[in-house]
Amino acid sequence: MTVTTDSVSAALEQTPTHERVDSHLHPEGSFDVDAHEVPTGREEIWRFTPLKRLKGLQADAEFMPSKTSCTWNTPAGARIEGVSGDEARGLRGLSGLVPNTRWAARVLAEVPDSLLIDLPADTELTEPIVVDLDGTDASVTEAGHVAMRFGAHSRAIVVLNHTGSSTVAAVVEIAVGDGADVTVVSIQDWADDAVHLSHHQARVGRDASYKHAAISFGGNVVRMDANVSYDGPGGSAELLGLYFADAGQHIEHRIFADHTAPQTKSHAVYKGALQGEKAHTVWVGNVLIRKVAEGIETYEENRNLVLTDGCQADSIPNLEIETGEIAGAGHASTTARFDDEHLFYLQSRGISEQEAQRLVVHGFFNDLIRKVGVPSIEDRLLTTVEAELAKNVLRDPGSLAAFAQEA
């Protein structure tokens, strides 16, 4: 154990104290690893995850020396480096995170170093920070901690790019200063044997804008919890997600917008497609509007497109509201396959069925990709969607070639 009581209490002090809300969705958090039972799969927060495929990450698998290479660019004005010792310990709980799982508590307690992305106040970056994480060995269970600190009125885009083979548990903590404008994109384009558990916790300052995009294509099991809470009034969070699950893949996204301050906003849009036997996606969207959070606005949306038989899409938009003084709250969830009318319309215009299907899927994802708003990755996302489609919908190589020409 490398956590000292001092660092824990310092972290606790940073945590805004709120009355505990009695709900089965939010188990009580703790920095103490032993306060968390090893999950059995019956818990609400684990009920969909295939624990057997996590290689013990959810329990007590040893965190071994990393076999994942980590490289990044450093735009002028930003400080990005691996830190350890006291500095790393001081970053635990930076985002107000109090772990509610055993694995997250273990990451905070046992991982000695952190990757720190530090941006001073009033700094505006002109190019995105791109952190490439390339795994080389899925038999090694490892863990990581990333801390992002954005000063007041700063502006930045960070892209975490996961590729290769790895079995990794990662905690990413994000503190968005007052008035800052920050986008964090996490791309999971793993090889087929990767296992990835991650918890992204953000604390949004007064009048700050925070955008988080979770994009999951590859991996055996990918589970990401993207949570957000607010430090002061006026903060807004946009939580976006795009996922494409193939045969045998389990892709699980959970979000939790904890409205801890008045006049805050959260807006979530997650869109996914599923294809192949035993492709399984889970989306759980939790929104909690606390008593103090008057005048807030929230909307969550999840759309699933089922492309073949044998898939399973779970979609659960939970909403808990403790005050009636709100500007608006709602959610919507749909799961469906191709809309026959869309296909019919396109075919009536002389477009082949396959091509029409391709266009519908692109139409489904394109506005989301545009919302992510990072031009340098847009092309890549479009190409990946196309490559995914080629596996099932488009067995005809012609249209892929046509697309390559267009691109």
Binding site: V306, E320, S333, T334
Partner: protein
């Protein structure tokens, strides 16, 4: 300011809960508390039941002790299973005319307006359950001639044992959950309905459930079998006196809707605010059949109720309309479950809830589309209205789709009563209370209009009472 009561003199004299009186309680005073094998054997013995039923009860008891309390919903910590009276016999024999009923029970039902409804032929049959057993029972003669069976469940076991045995526990198995196990071990009373092939029961069958004893546990068991192409509408209402300590109502309702039949089941639950209402309701629908739950939850301390429909045959259809009001100290955890197990099935859920005065409403639902149920459609709409800053509203919709050719939509919205709406109505000369009540009535109208007339009126009256003083 003019209160609603002054505007509507008929409302005067009605307290916040008008069914809160209690009768003298001789039967209840002597009833034993607590649950063990002897209690179960005693209940079965008093009813002179066949051995198989006793065995089933004992199995239920075992499963009840073994199953854990559900922790995912409301706080059930206040239930003291050892303090509950599991069986209270209020009257030695069942009456078929109101005159034969003991005086105090007759008065109770007079106050509830039941003989009136029957006299006016608003209902096709009536059952009244007081404590653990049905005390009054009647059905229109012409329906009886057509072969419609409408009796209390205890009588059904005696008189129609074969039919009973064929269906009892087939929709909700003994060990389905802790409370269905409890119900199976100590069940008593409830309605048993059999509608033969092609028979349409055109006006509703009605049942009234009343708890009188303090710390009483009411465990009625209802079984409805609608044979092919038949139709029946069953309506139940529930009330209880206000006591300082809690009572438990844990019913099990099983419905079998055969090919092409249609069943509508309407509940207006208005238990007093000291009743834990933990009910398991489930229907199976064969091909082309329709099941409709109309579920109104107004009373009780805690309600956990998720009427389920299993769509087992092609083109079966399920519909749930649910409405919940939670006032001070109340938690209405209601919703619906739809399981699509056959192709081209469709379901729709419409849920509306209003929370005020620190009450909590939760919508908890499940839409499950099994593999092979292609072409299924499901639509869920839940709206919640919060009228103040201290109430709470939650939405927990579970969706599990295992088939590609389906269309499923879920939408929820939570809103407060808008100032614009209030201002408009008040600019037309309405008092604030009255305007508020009108907005709430408008909000629940899509469901209220599905209720039988007298219940719709009752609901409107309850809304006005509930909303009175809701505006700070």
């Amino acid at each position: 300011m003019t209160s609603i009561e002054e505007l509507n003199p008929t409302l005067k004299g009605i307290g916040n809960y008008e069914f809160g009186w209690s009768d003298s309680d001789d039967a209840g005073a002597t009833a034993t508390r607590g649950l063990n094998e002897d209690v179960v054997r005693d209940i079965s013995g008093k009813k002179s039941e066949p051995q198989w039923m006793l065995d089933l009860r004992l199995k239920g008891l075992k499963l009840f002790h073994r199953k854990p309390m559900p922790t995912w919903g409301s706080d059930l910590g206040g239930i003291d299973f050892d303090n509950i009276k599991y069986f209270v016999r209020s009257s030695e024999k069942q009456a078929t005319s109101w005159e034969d009923l003991p005086e105090d029970i007759k008065n109770t039902y007079d106050k509830l307006g039941i003989p009136e409804a029957e006299k006016q032929r608003l209902v096709a049959g009536v059952a009244a359950q007081y404590e653990s057993e049905v005390v009054y029972h009647s059905i229109r003669e012409d329906l009886e001639e057509k072969g419609v069976i409408f009796v209390d469940t205890d009588t059904a076991l005696k008189e129609h044992e074969d039919l009973f045995k064929e269906y009892f526990g087939t929709v909700i198995p003994v060990g389905d959950n802790k409370f269905s196990a409890l119900n199976t071990s100590v069940w008593s009373g409830g309605s048993f309905i059999y509608v033969p092939k092609g028979v349409h029961v055109d006006i509703p069958l009605q049942a009234y459930f009343r708890i009188n004893t303090e710390n009483m546990g009411q465990f009625e068991r209802t079984l409805i079998i609608a044979d092919e192409d038949s139709y029946v509408h069953y309506v139940e209402g529930c009330t209880a006196p206000i006591y300082s300590s809690d009572s438990l109502h844990s019913a099990v309702v099983e419905i079998i809707v055969k090919k092409g039949a249609r069943v509508r089941y309407t509940t207006i639950q208005n238990w007093s605010n000291n009743v834990y209402n933990l009910v398991t309701k489930r229907a199976t629908c064969e091909a082309g059949a329709t099941m409709e739950w109309v579920d109104g939850n107004i009373g009780s301390k805690v309600t956990m109720k998720y009427p389920a429909i299993y769509l087992m045959g092609e083109h079966a259809k399920g519909e749930t309309l649910s409405i919940a009001f939670a006032g001070e100290g109340q938690h209405q955890d209601a919703g619906a479950k739809m399981v699509h197990a056959a192709p081209h099935t469709s379901s729709s859920i419409l849920s509306k809830s209003v929370a005020r005065g620190g009450g909590r409403t939760s919508y908890r639902g499940l839409i499950q589309v099994n593999e092979g149920a292609h072409g299924s459609k499901s639509n869920v709409l839940c709206d919640a209205l919060l009228v103040d800053q201290i109430s709470r509203s939650d939405t927990y919709p579970y969706v599990d789709i295992r088939e590609d050719d389906v269309s499923m939509g879920h939408e929820a919205s939570v809103s407060k009563v808008s100032d614009d709406q209030l201002f408009y109505l008040m600019s037309r000369g309405m008092e604030q209370d009255e305007a508020m009540a009108m907005i709430v009535r408008g909000f629940v109208e899509p469901i209220a209009k599905e209720l039988p007339m007298e219940y719709a009126l009752e609901l409107n009256r309850l809304i006005e009472l509930q909303m009175e003083g809701a505006v700070g």
